[in-house]
Subunit: 602 residues, 2 copies
């Protein structure tokens, strides 16, 4: 039982049969065809030799198949992580140098160890603190940066850089040196790839292909562009005319490599590794959950950390670089019928064959075609509409998103994410430090209590009831103190204060001390403190302290019990009063909600 | 109106009269007598010349009187902040050097600017993130460190250090060099001071003094010890016999001093200044609130930041060092009848007179007596019982508190607080990332819905209702997704899922996207998503998004409406069933709480 949790392969492997095999194998074939150009392109984006992309698509996939829980997630090099790799490794070593390759291996190793550690300690919840606006803003900004950075390959000029400013400077300085043949190839590839995403499938259907098959074959657009451009280069000898080519790629299976554990290097890569781990994890889990839900399956996010961790460690020891689950690739895998993680292992076999057999052909592949592949892939990441939606919904979330986008574009990926996380956390902490609470009074003709600011309710001059709508913990305990002390100062005739706790799921030690201090302060001010509607588990815990012994007042089962005991005449008068027509039925009104705006379905 | 908020003196100053004056003046006299030995002692603790303590008790008090909102808070040098000053400035400069004094001024200035900034931007809530266990553990550990550090002055040996280990090493190395006369003076002073706290007042009452007056006069214990020891030193010429004395203290009003704004110095002091600001603020506000509640007054925490900020800036320009509100001193001020912040200004006048007139006498004051004063003052800060109470109440809070104590004692004050804050925030984030939620069913014979795990309720096989007990935001949105997807995977016949939202006060943009994604995923799985009991403001905000248009199901006013619409036969059967005897009355049961454990008062 325990072992199967950490080795999901024991679970799905038991019922593996010929049908699952044929489904997985077909899906693997299609993903392989899609993954070959992508892995070459993303390796280029990461500043690594093209074979690193292929190597990162072999061993990691096998390890994920053993440890991962998603039945459709396709792991490998992806655009955002490749950019993050380039940005962090580029600070430390010269692109093309051995140090650069070693740093990328180390980055994968660190990222793997982090993911594995988070998974084993079940700390996946930490990723929750990357809010959606921050992730979405970051992905959009990264997509823009990647696309902008690849344009130079498409038009054949020098340049580079990790921020919009650096990239822009590169354009301005090199604008005069556009390489005409590269430009023709690049723009043609770009045009073809954009068209093939929408136009190839209908065309194939028009010539009689079945819709499902047409959709799958249309995924071969990139590999078609690669093949055609290689032939064109060979036929017209474009390499000699100045078109930048991939060059010699060694044929063979992934080498055994060892990441460096040099202290200085590890220190320099640590924060990037953390960023890559978390961003990669969040994206993977999101894709995996979406696909699992379609088949009413589940994935275990903590086990996903283990699976991705193992995949990255495998990448580090087999000449790769950081990997994670890819969105488009996983959808293709799912649509093609992948039934188990074995599909990933079969994809690894496909890529391994490609690495053994097809690599000599890649020497004549123009970089411009790979760049076009990248641009087409990342354009789907850019979602500026989210900015508009966030603006319409919540200014705080909009601020976090726009800061993340702006700082990622202008200062780089790490500054962008850091700013977004800090803004999100700051807003979150600010909100939680002010718990929702309301002074309530009795609704005439009922035993219900509602917000005095929203309803025509009956209160007593010497009794105040504060309904606390959230759990109490250190972050908001002091605010509750302030609120109660303000009531104390504002209501001179006050003799009893009731804290109504229907939504209090927890009272931590700080909040307990706040309550104790409130009890003493109210006592000094001549006011008795009571509680009502305290939940069972909260009550059990309070009994483990001296609070209930020292409490000046009582704990009442219901708020009405409390009010009847402390202001019997007012309570009776309120109960006898004519009931206003605000409650659709007697009992749901007992829920004491500010349900004045009926839902559209009501 | 606005001006009076930032200048509370405009408020209380308007009704200031002779009666208030005489009350304030009397309180000021008593606080002055208490403050003279304390300010000298705390300056010694901070590693500064004794007059710095007097100077820090003049201008800062006047500024606090203008800007502060507490009518009883007595501001000045306090033990914990003095230790923090010594710890941070001691890293940068040699005690006794001019650089040391300048660094202390700069620290006060930085702390003042920080407090003022927090106050003007109303960021006082940030202090809430220092949980009670962390503060309490930190104060206890600091008290232990201070007491341990002062013992060497009492017995007359060399030594020093900012951690228990350093202090312990000092003892071991110098244990053979105890100065016998110092030991006699120190131990006598210590004994007298400890006795006078409890024994002096009863003695005075026994000789016929009124209880109130006796309590006040007993506060003069420390100044009595100071006076007697000065006389003893003069009479027996103890200075020549080897007793360490305070030495020459220049007479006069505070000098005009200027803090250094050297970048390196500021950088080195920044984190200490932040710590001093927050710790000082938290302690001040807690004392001020306690005293204000006794008279049903209020203090404004954000304006307190302004008041304390102004006080610290004043300290920086008048030869002082960081100040804050002192606990014992404020209680004395309050008990002595202080009515307005003017009492603080009058205290400043008293200290100024002392600085002009009495300083020549202080040359013969033994350090051992000041050390004894400090030890007696800080012993009351040590509260190891809190550790036991936290342990009984909550393991997480206990962990935060014990880590803070252990690391403060062993590694120093900053490491201790940092560890405590990180543990508290970590636990807080962990808890909030898992929102309280429960699958609910209909209570037979009612229209109420309760937790299926705790009550004998009726559910339908194709309808699941998840009650969400907390607001939804990015930190817990993903957990809700997981929970719902688990229900989807576990209940194969599911056709409708209702999210019951009575306790949801807010849905942020991340949670909105989670709901949208849940809606899509459930749709893919053939399940319709409904909401019930959504609060008005939350509904208003949802209307600003496309969520309600895309929602596969409906929004119901009450949970019963939802259940009746989706499972009409089950709902009717449940309503007709015999009602179990779990609800004391029909309507409070409508609150749908797990109220199975009645409170002691019910």
């Amino acid at each position: 039982m325990k072992l199967a949790r950490y080795l999901p392969i024991l679970d799905w492997g038991r019922s593996y049969d010929a049908r699952a095999f044929s489904n997985d194998a077909l899906a693997a074939l299609i993903v392989t065809i899609m993954l070959i150009p992508q892995s070459l392109a993303y390796a280029m984006l990461a500043g690594l030799p093209p074979q690193a992309g292929l190597y990162a698509s072999i061993a990691p996939l096998v390890l994920y198949a053993v440890f991962g829980t998603s039945r459709a997630l396709a792991v490998g090099p992806v655009a955002v992580v490749s950019l993050l790799t380039a940005a962090s490794v580029g600070r430390i070593a010269e692109a093309g140098s051995l140090d650069y390759v070693t740093a990328a291996l180390t980055l994968a190793f660190l990222s793997g160890v982090m993911l594995l550690t988070l998974g084993l300690f079940r700390l996946g919840f930490l990723a929750n603190f990357l809010s959606h606006p921050v992730i979405s803003g970051f992905i959009t900004a990264t997509g823009l940066l990647i696309a902008a950075g690849q344009v130079r390959h498409v038009i054949g000029i020098e340049g580079g850089g990790h921020t919009l400013i650096e990239i822009g400077r590169g354009f301005v300085e090199n604008a005069g040196n556009v390489e005409p043949y590269t430009l023709v190839i690049g723009v043609s590839a770009l045009g073809f790839l954009f068209w093939s995403r929408k136009g190839l499938a209908p065309l194939l259907r028009a010539v009689g292909m079945k819709p499902g098959v047409a959709a799958m074959v249309s995924r071969a657009g990139p590999i078609l562009a690669v093949a055609v451009s290689i032939v064109a280069v060979e036929v017209f000898n474009l390499g000699a005319l100045g078109v930048a080519l991939v060059g010699e790629v060694p044929a063979g299976l992934p080498p055994f490599t060892v990441p460096s554990l040099n202290g200085e290097l590890v220190g320099a890569l640590l924060s990037s590794a953390a960023l890559i781990s978390i961003i990669g994890f969040v994206e993977s889990v999101s894709v995996a959950q979406t696909l699992a839900a379609k088949k009413r399956q589940r994935i275990d996010p903590d086990q996903e950390l283990v699976g991705l961790g193992a995949a990255n460690i495998a990448a580090a020891f087999s000449g790769g670089y950081p990997v994670t689950g890819g969105f488009a690739r996983s959808v293709v895998n799912f649509d093609a019928g992948a039934q188990t993680p074995a599909a990933g292992a079969f994809t690894a076999v496909g890529i391994a064959i490609a690495a053994l057999v097809f690599t000599p052909l890649l020497a004549s592949l123009p970089n411009a075609v790979l760049a076009a592949t990248i641009i087409v892939a990342v354009v789907s990441l850019i979602d500026l509409g989210a900015l508009r939606r966030a603006y319409a919904y919540s200014l705080g979330d909009f601020a976090a998103m726009s800061a993340t986008i702006a700082l990622t574009l202008l200062l780089g990926v790490e500054a962008g994410v850091a700013a977004g996380v800090l803004i999100s956390l700051g807003l979150f902490l600010y909100r939680t430090s002010k718990p929702h609470s309301a002074l309530v009074g009795q609704v005439p003709g009922t035993q219900h209590f509602r917000n005095v600011d929203r309803h025509d309710v009956i209160t007593a001059p010497d009794v105040a009831t504060l309904r606390v709508d959230e759990s109490l913990y250190f972050a908001n305990a002091r605010y509750l103190e302030d609120r109660v002390l303000a009531i104390l100062a504002a209501q001179p005739g006050l003799r009893h204060l009731i804290l109504m706790c229907p939504a209090v799921n927890e009272i931590d030690f700080s909040a307990l001390e706040s309550l104790e201090s409130l009890n003493r302060r109210l006592k000094d001010g001549g006011v008795t403190l009571h509680l009502s509607e305290v939940k069972g588990p909260v009550m059990d815990r309070l009994k483990r302290s001296h609070f209930l012994d020292d409490l000046t007042g009582e704990v009442f089962l219901s708020q009405y019990d409390a009010f009847r005991a402390l202001a019997p005449e007012t309570a009776q008068r309120a109960l006898d009063a004519r009931r206003p027509d605000i409650c659709p039925n007697a009992e749901s009104a007992g829920l004491d909600r500010h349900q004045t705006t009926p839902g559209p379905g009501a």
